[in-house]
Each structure stands twice: as C-alpha cells, then as structure tokens.
Amino acid sequence: MSWKLFTLLVQAAGATALFSAFAVVAGIALGLFVCGVALSRFRAAAGVARLYVSFFRGVPLLVQLLLVYHLLPVLGLNVSSATAALVALTLCTAAYQAENLRGAFLSVPNGLVEAADVVGMTPWQRFRRIEAPIALRLAIPALLNEAVAILHASALISVVGVIELTKTARDLAASTLEPLPLYAMAGALYLVMNMVLVYGGRLAERRFSVRTA
C-alpha cells in the first residue's frame, strides 16, 4: 500500500477518533443528566427520561442518524451533516450511558446514603459528594464498554455524508481494486484507537478505584 493511501486512511481515522471522542464525552455528560432525572423524585420528568432511554436504545443508530439528519432541517435548523452526526451519536450513546450510570447509582450501598443523611447533607450535597463519586467509580468498566461500542458504531455516520475511516477504506478499495490491504489497515487503525481508549479507562480505574475491603 502506498504512503499516499496510508495517510488518507490515517486522516479518516482522525475524523473517526474526533467524532467518537466528542460523542463519548458529551454522551457521558448527557447520560449523567438523564440518569439523574430518571432517579429523581419528579415523576413526570423521570418518565420523560425513561422514554428517552427506551427510544434511543430501541431504534437502530442507523435509523437515528437518518432521522436526525432529515429532522433538523424540518425544525428550521440548517446544520452540516457533521453536526447531525455528532448529535445523533451523542443522543444514542447517552441513552446507554444513562442506564450504565443508573445501575451504578442503584448499587451504591444504602447505608452510605443514610450516613450522608444523618450528618445533615441536602439531597444535592449527598449526590455530589457521596453518590456520584462512588457510582462513577463503579460505572467505569460499563462506561468504557459503551465508549468502545460507539467508536465502532461511528462507522455508520457515513450514511449522512460524513467521511470517516470505514467509508474511506471502502472508497479507496473500490478505486484501487485492492480491498484486502486497505481493510486490513482500517482494522489495524480501529484496533489502535481501541487500545488507546482501553488504556485510558485502565488509568481511570486505577486512579479512582473504589477501595473496598
């Protein structure tokens, strides 16, 4: 494979990495918010949060991408296909992350919550100082799992016209008539990105490990 083809693939991998990184970070933030609402005592809001989760987990990402891409202009928002892709990826991954986080919050031992109550913390103080730090640590493996999944699923954003790694590999394979080396290289690049992600997750796990007896 020529150097030229290689640099084209690396550039495309850069796009994949950027889109995925944004979706992972924004998705965890939005997921935390959705999870907070779902667990709150505001019934109606919690219902909306559950609806959100079941929609974005229930509809395939491919369909979500197409929906968002065609819906935003109808709502009067003229956005680029890159923006539409970011929005769809984030909304989708946030639904999964919200569930990962909800599970973690529910496994914070009740006694630790009661200990916060008896020292007089308000629900918000308790959330910020006790529940969230413990739950986030418990959730790291699941959050990382979803980050890996969204990195892979980002290959779908080419359907709304965004150039990323898989699409670039296909185009180059078609034009050079040499599919095997191109797909092999694309696979290798995904693998590298994955390893970076997993390594980052390991660091976070070690740094924030819940010290349990």
């Binding site: 020292v119 913390m121 100082r129």
Partner: protein, 262 residues
C-alpha cells in the same frame, strides 16, 4: 426541669400491615446512657432509626432537645414540619451504624471532615484540624490518611464515631455498634463509648453487649414485639425475680454474657 435529650410520645411504626412499634412512650434523659435491648425484630433498631429520621413514624411525636422532629402536634393534629426545621433539629443528633458506613472514597480524615466542609461550610483547613482532633480522641490520629478498607472493623467504627462527634451532637445514637465486630475488636469501640459516657454525652445505645449495658447504662429499656416491656435502671430491670420475657431473652440470646448477671 431539665429538658430530656429526647422524648417519644405514642410512637407507632407500621411497615405495610406489620406493626413494628406499638405506642412507644419513652424519655431519654440528658447526659446519660439509655440502652435499648430486646430480641431481633423487637423494634429497637426501628425506634432508633425513627429518632434519626431514617424512618418516618406512622403516628406519634418525637422531640429532640425539647424541639419536635419530623412532626409536631398543633391543636391536637399531627402536622409535618418543614425540611429546614428538621435538618436543624437533626443536626443535634449523631448516629453510628452497625456496618460503620464510612464513605469508601475518602480517607479517615476526609470522612470526619466531610460534613464540616459541605454542611457546616467550614474552610478546609479548619475542618481538617477539627477532624484531626476528633480522630485523636478515638485514638486514631496515626490512621488519618488511611482509607476505610485499610482499617480494621474496630478502627472503622471508631472513625465513624469521630465522624459523628465532629458535628458536636447533643445526642448520640448507636445502632448495634459492635455487632459486626470480632469479640477482640469490640473492646476498643466500647472503650470509646464508655469514655464518651463519662464526658456526659446523652446516648441511646442498641446493643447485645449486656456487660456494657449493665455497667454503663443509667436506663435500660427492654422491648419485645414493638412494645416497651421494662423501663428503668439496670438494677430495676435486671432485678430478680426477672420478668419472664426478659429471663427468656437473656437465656436464649445471651448465653455467653448473661453469666455475669446470674
């Protein structure tokens, strides 16, 4: 008249259709140790948790330091009190749990200083200084930077006591503080509690440590099936001939320790 540390009037607690506490009337004297004893399921922990506002009573009024907590009686009607009021009154109560419940992501010092910083809005340096003193009082100054998982059960429970004491409570609640400890480790926790009692802290202790109860308590309350069966000084409660239910309790539940009362 001295205001009692806590007062319980006509307290009921039902979980579904099960009545766990039945018309409890109790005065907790200030500056003394009151021990709640009774078989499992007698409602002693639930009573303590009602006083700590971890359970909402189904009926009745609880007051702490002369001020109603949770509900008050106005014109014969029981009305819910505002959250801000309850938080303030509950601020006078410290609680220690059977399972210690230290926050695992904070050091011993962090656990003790936490509420001073977040609830009392104290500057970090000042909160840490007070926390250090409290850890010293329970004999754990040298373990301030350890995480709960690095401490023994007895040490964890002493940190939990320091955490409660940091807020300068007027009343301390102990919910079976030594029940999840090895016999070897209960001593160090009971010693800290004994010291606290000598300093005149008002305490309510749910405990199976009959030796501790008999020697430290000014008042013993024996509960059975959600009712107060006996209420008096240890001499009165443990006096012979014993109340048949108490005798049965001491026999079946406390073989190893009841010997000293024989």
């Amino acid at each position: 008249m001295i205001i009692p540390a806590a007062q319980v009037d006509g307290l009921d607690k039902e979980f579904g259709t099960t009545r766990v506490l039945d018309r409890i009337n109790l005065t907790i004297p200030a500056g003394q140790v009151t021990c709640l004893i009774g078989p499992s399921g007698s409602g002693k922990s639930t009573l303590l948790r009602c006083i700590a506002m971890l359970e909402e009573p189904s009926a009745g009024i609880i007051s702490v330091g002369g001020r109603p907590l949770g509900f008050s009686l106005e014109n014969g009607k029981r009305v819910k009190l505002p959250t801000a009021h309850n938080r303030e009154v509950r601020g006078q109560i410290g609680m220690v749990f059977q399972q210690f419940n230290l926050w695992p992501h904070m050091t011993a010092l962090g656990n003790v200083a936490e509420a001073l910083k977040t609830v009392r809005r104290m500057p970090k340096a000042q909160a840490n200084e007070i926390a250090g003193q409290k850890l010293d009082e329970v004999g754990l100054a040298h373990r301030r930077d350890y995480y709960p998982a690095q401490l023994s059960g007895g040490q964890q429970q002493r940190v939990a006591i320091a955490r409660a004491l940091a807020l300068e409570p007027k009343l301390m609640l102990f919910d079976e503080p030594t029940s999840s400890l090895d016999p070897e480790l209960t001593g160090e926790v009971l010693n800290v509690m004994r010291k606290l009692a000598e300093q005149g802290m008002s305490m309510i202790v749910v405990s199976h440590e009959i030796g501790f109860v008999a020697s430290v308590a000014s008042k013993v309350v024996f509960l059975d099936h959600g009712r107060v069966v006996l209420d008096g000084t240890p001499q009165e409660v443990f006096a012979k001939p014993r109340h048949p239910r108490l005798a049965q309790f001491l026999d079946t539940y406390l073989d190893r320790e009841a010997v000293m009362l024989a």
